[in-house]
Amino acid sequence: MGGILTILILSPLLGVIVLSLMPANHSSVKMIGVFGTVLPLIVTIGVFSLYDRTLSGIQFMESYQWFELMTAISPNEPYPVTYDLGITGLSLLFLMLSALITFLASLAALRIQEGVKGFYMLFLLLEFGILGVFSSENLFLFFLFFEVTLVAMFLLIGKWGGFEREKAAFSFLVYNGIGSILLLIVIIVLFVEFRTMNISELTSLLQESASYEFLSGNTRMWLFLLLLLGFGTKLPIVPLHTWMVRVHIEAPIAVVMIHAGVLLKIGAYGLIRFGAGFFPEQLKETAVILAILGVINLLYGAFIALVQTELRAVLAYSSISHMGIVIIGVASFNTAGLQGAVFQTISHGLIAALLFLLVGVIVDRFQTTKLADLGGVASQTPLFAGFFLAAGLASLGLPGMSGFISEFLAFLGLFEAMPVIGSVGVIGLILTAVYMLRAVLAVTFGERKPQFDKQKDLSAVELVSSAILLSLIIWIGVYPAVLSNTLQMARTLGIGG
């Protein structure tokens, strides 16, 4: 199946092209927009079913020479830039997550009233970038697609966001711009030393001891720290998180679903794939610091979430707190921990998407996300309240749901490596339960505000979307092997194990 990944990446662009040819006020713009995300979802499912779980290594490889950079001094030693695609189990899981959440988010975006055509075009462009990031087997391509998401997100937040949308867009742009260029510096240093940007080639080259002649341990540590800073901004690691809270609060709901559900995960993906893959020694050396950072993330996010008066802010800080668990998992650097980190990214992706889907419903029905203004919606909209409660429970890590498995694994890893830090971190889990239940209860129970009478419960589309996400969350919680079977490759990549 050559070329299937190229087809996958390009598939959202079909929607962009069709949309660009349509008049802006055409009645079927929204439908085309949604169909534009269905196509990649179908291709992703195809890739998923064709993926051979018994093999290790990279599958669906595509590799072409793109161009060569040459120097006048030594023209016979060119620097080749190639176009390499390929996926491992790790990237496959992220691809599935991205395609699914983008599809559901495109449904949530049906509520958008103004500039629908432009919105869906950028939305599909964003999906193009995301799918590209997770299919790249080459750092040059990875960076390229990463920047595509940057531009698309900037425009999506700045045009369709809330009151302070432009500030949020610039905040997003600057932080992520710094992150991506730090990444570019690392890419270029590796490129000029090894004359390749292929990820698996670099992974094996860097692990040969002979390569230390090219890149001393000291330089490696610098590169690792640059990577950590770059992806740490994306993840985000406290104190690099302010932009992310702004985006959570200001961006349109459909975009936040993608942002919290997928884009933040690029940070985790990069940290695991490149941080741990390229510089395992350096990761081990800094593991304690990383674990402490993770615990700080976990506790800081939880404490701040506890006092927020705005539902979207609660969820933003909850995301920070949950990303702390990812960092903890990576820092423990053993099989359980790394698996926990990956599980947590997937699980949080699904849960965050579900939560924001439901926040979208709240915004639509009640026009506010202030906790004080909400309340008592359970009696009017029981279905909504039920799903919201379930999502909250999943987020706080109720056994039987995906959050529990991932937190359990991550902490298992951490306790194995650093028991003291682990025991401090566990406090965060209790706090999660407190702030999550506080927020959920404030919305669903309590006194009902009179202006909320006669509100409609979940529509069919909303119901189906929520049900899909919730059933996946429960499925992973009950039968986590669905993830670990695919993921096995992560270990054969040379990480953990």
């Binding site: 793109w66 161009f67 060569e68 950079l69 040459m70 120097t71 006048a72 001094i73 030594s74 023209p75 620097y79 960076f143 390229l144 920047e147 595509v148 940057l150 531009v151 900037f154 425009l155 700045g158 045009k159 432009e166 867009a169 610039f170 742009l173 600057v174 711009g177 710094i178 260029i181 730090l182 570019l184 510096i185 270029i188 240093v189 490129f191 000029v192």
Partner: protein, 508 residues
Amino acid sequence: MEINQLLDYQWSSMMPEFTILLTAVALSLVDLFMPKKRNRSVIIWFALSGIAVAIVFLIFQFDDGVVTILNQTYRLDSFAKAFKLLMLIGTGLVLLLGIKTNDLDEVKGEYPYLLLTGLLGGMMMASSADLITLFVGLELLSLSSYILVGIRKKNKLANEAAFKYIVNGGIATAITLFGMSYLFGLTGETNIYEIQALMGSDIVTENRYIAVFAFLMIFVGLAFKITAAPFHMWAPDVYQGAETPITAYLSVVSKIAGFAIMLRLIMVPFVFAPGTGKVITPDGVSYETLLVSVRPYLVLLAVLTILIGNLIALKQVNAKRLFAYSSIAHAGYLLVPLAALSELVFDAVWFYLAAYLLMNLGAFAVIDALGEENNEVTVASFAGLFKRSPYVTIAMTIYLLSLAGIPLTAGFIGKFEIFMSALGTEPKRFILALTMLAGTVLSYIYYFGLFVQMYFRKAEVKTPVLASNRLVAVLTITAAGTVLLGIFPSIALTFIHDHFQFLEIFNP
């Protein structure tokens, strides 16, 4: 000189220059004898065809080796050809853009042929191997530019700009000439290849501080030309006061010529010159090369240029001033390979200049189009542009993305090479790379700020921008070129590699 010797020279190597010269002379005569009432736009087309012919001649020269004529003062090597190609294309696009029709009464026909004489000066700067001819070329370009800036003689801003430009430019060329005089004093030669050969001699080694002084003087003088900080002060005022196509010409063609002369004057005479620091080798004590000694200054200049350009651009309201500072920042990026003394220096600078030519000219073309309806084009003049003229906006988006260095555009590939040049040398120039990082992120703010205007804000006027056919042509060429070089950079990369051996520059 014998007449036979004169006839023996391979004059065909100067064909592009002759073409431009002839066109300029012919146009000035046509302009003189043409009835006053006649429309002058035919002159622009005539000038354009002259440039096209010159490009054709240049293409026929591509695979010739090094040719020197006129007692080795004039030299046709790959370096010269590569830079002349850029200058010809740049001037052609500026001519195509034309000048605003309502100003034509005032401007008359001198506009096209002054562009051509400036271009001729630039081509001489790229092609000379002698301090005298280099200086003549520099002056020819400068004088043409001074007149071009002040061409709207009844406009106050234009007069101010021209005055500032002539004073600053005069000082700069004087400083360069002063530095050159030291080179002559040290070696008794004006031919830069002779100077190169004599630079290793004992007398120079004894007076190596004078060589360093000469270098710094020449460099400072040329830094004016390429708008490197802290010698950039003139640029914003001049860019603002000049007619927009002329601003585009100054920021592109004049800057390319500046980099051409700078690279040749730095690389050729000084490449083997002794520096100030001592190096202890097994054979005894020797001196590091001059370029290594002065590198800290080059690095400082690059860092300052990038930071000052980008930081001041953040606060600009006038679009032309914004792009003036942005072009200062880009000059800073272009100094990075030089400051890193990277082996990529020729390739990186040439490619970035090619990308810069396309994206910057395109951006100025859009500003020019907006200038038809606004006396002063500000950032707010871009408001709601997408609703008004989607195609112009998409072209502008491409230029801005490229200027910001976002992938799939020529600007990104160029910036990538420059990053490579900073990080590919030993020891790695992390300071330069991190400065570029800071500069790039700062530039995101003002380039994306224009996106905010174009896409998010509402326009006061609803009518589309007046887009003449020529403007559409310029926009199409530059936007398509920017994307094409971004997606298939190998077009340019293999082209320069197949035809140009930049190292020829070092061979006498």
